[in-house]
Symmetry: C3
Subunit: 281 residues, 3 copies
């Protein structure tokens, strides 16, 4: 089983490795941008299903193998026709918000190790994790969507409001601007920002530590934090529906087309300075 996964990994953009049976690692490797192609959706689903079903795993760390990017937004240059019409999952949610909710609710502890840009779906994936640690120098988080004319689809309205309070959540989402490591820590967007040189060792030590604890105790404790802190699924559903509705409007399509004409979704200034880029339209 381990070997099969390893063989398959090289053909995918998301790699699952197992430093130990209790501690897994999920690495985004879709150079040069770690942009979210529609083909990655079933890969995320496969990994979350493995997390949900393999009994020994206690901790999973999400990180990136691509310089400058943790995981970014949907690839608007790919064929997206089917994406909005994927059949809902068991909860009734569209597969993307459903996967996010499943990750948050799973009994495994998930940690996002954020180095480089995490925007759009990348930010949403990080927010669905149980904890987020960022490189002080190299992490940039954002929800850029409002700047591109559409409502974010993976629930940052629900998540950020609860993590950082209404005022800062509205600023992050409505400004659609880049949030560097220091500010992300001040706002509670991430647990902590650490010096880039210390980040890997810190996260590895934390994951190893939690993986040494009793799984049943971890599960029962996390379940009670979930009761106190997770948004109701309904808010993810409303967010997704608002996203789909906004995408269908001609004004949005025009805005996205204009962004694409100027370099959106391609390596270069647009993606390297996405906050500035959407503010200049």
């Amino acid at each position: 089983m381990k070997n099969a996964t390893r063989r398959g990994a090289s053909m995918k953009q998301i790699h699952l490795t197992r430093p130990s049976p209790h501690y897994w690692r999920v690495t985004f490797n879709h150079p040069p941008l770690n942009i979210f192609g529609p083909e990655m959706l079933p890969q995320v689903n496969e990994i979350i299903t493995a997390i949900e079903t393999e009994e020994q795993v206690k901790v999973v760390v999400f990180d990136s193998a691509v310089e400058g990017f943790f995981l970014i937004h949907l690839d608007f240059l790919a064929k997206l026709d089917d994406l909005a019409h994927l059949p809902p999952g068991p909860t009734g949610l569209h597969p993307w918000p459903e996967m996010l909710v499943r990750l948050s609710r799973s009994s495994v502890v998930s940690i996002a190790l954020i180095r480089g840009r995490a925007t759009g779906m990348g930010s949403e994936l990080a927010l669905a994790c149980d904890m987020r640690f960022a490189s002080r120098e190299k992490a940039i988080l954002s929800q850029f969507e409002v700047g591109a004319g559409f409502v974010p689809g993976g629930g940052p309205m629900a998540q950020l409001s609860r993590l950082m309070g209404r005022g800062r959540a509205l600023e992050v989402i409505l400004s659609a601007d880049d949030v560097p490591g220091d500010l992300a820590e001040l706002y509670g967007y991430v647990n902590r920002s650490l010096p880039d040189a210390d980040l890997d060792a810190f996260v590895d030590a934390l994951a190893t530590r939690i993986a040494s604890f009793d799984k049943q105790t971890i599960m029962d404790t996390k379940r009670l934090v979930n009761v106190a802190s997770l948004p109701p699924d309904m808010e993810f559903e409303s967010g997704w529906n608002a996203c789909v509705a906004s995408m269908a409007r001609p004004a949005t399509q025009k805005r996205i087309k204009s962004l694409i004409d100027r370099g959106f979704c391609k390596p270069g200034d647009a993606e390297n300075h996405l906050g500035d880029f959407v503010g200049q339209l």
Copy 2:
């Protein structure tokens, strides 16, 4: 319409200007204290009604033209007999909490630019805004009311509990003390405190940026943050009722009278050091 408003503005304490059709500015100009006179209540109502009804506006910034004061508490030297008995608005709330709730729920993005003192109604107005940015050197926020013997009427119990958590909210409200820029940022009372020299340019750039985005997208996104973050109206109603009840108690009337005898509501040490002042009674 623009000219009419501009002509009218000079006779009022609250000025509405329109740097652009998408970006408005509301400036408190009631020297020397920017104290909240009862005559300002219909002016606030008029401005919030304009914000609710004019279709093009996307962002409104609230600021002050008075040195040292953003906007402070009710003027207890004015004739206040009618204030507690104003007829309720459409939501059933008293006009003051109703206006605050309407501002928060409006589809326009509201930003408080806080330089000088924001206490009592001034703090409550800032809390009803979607975002708050403060001068690190010159902003002081507070809810001084408990120190003057009465319960705050505009809902800071509901708002601050959600913005900064129970412990810090209880400290701010029950200590009734001044909160300077640095601490306001640490506690999440404001989004950020900026060096005074940078504050105006920062807020103007943010407002201009958001005003360049699509209005429908802003509206739909803000509505979902509201679902996740706004207190139920009922908490504003309970807060207002507790305020009115506390005002009617002889002990409170005596305390307020004693404060007035010592300079409350007049220019000078009382208002310049309100935190110390209410703590010395």
Copy 3:
């Protein structure tokens, strides 16, 4: 009554003193560790009952007379057979979470002055207080329980999720690690961390200040913050039940025994470095 309490105090581990009728002090004095012996449960109950029933008291400060320790976890070396089976209090909760809830709901303002270690029940008691101020150099907070194999019983899942957001709450509880003063302030675990030399004067001034305000106003205001911020009792009940269930599992008993064999609950490295200690098992 005052004299009686003072005479009794010397035979107890928890001392109640009354600097003034409005301002009380509760001091944990159970050297060398301020460990929570089962005999302290009725003492806490007695003090909370006094807080609830004496009409003049407005503020109570909880502090420690033991160097290095504010208040720590249950003494697993004591006879604990009866503890899990104590009859529930009036709310239906087990006496420990019930006392915590009663303290939070009481009309008196409670302030934890944290110097030294506050872990387990000590952290839970601090979280039940209305405010928490910590020594920047000498305070260490933690919920170590998951590292010892059991679910915390006094509701930190409910409390910390609301104070610091889901991500940081999960880190604090699931890492089971020490949280020093600086980090406790960044995360909102405490209101503020102050230089150790300033802490006593700061808390005393704040307590004296609030004790000078009107009791009815304090009560009515706190009640409204409670509405906005207190977890439902049900979450404390679920947390307690999960704790009891986890304690009954052989894996947990084995883990606790192993900790005891290595120095847990005794003066020395285990308790002085509890975070490291539970991580090395």
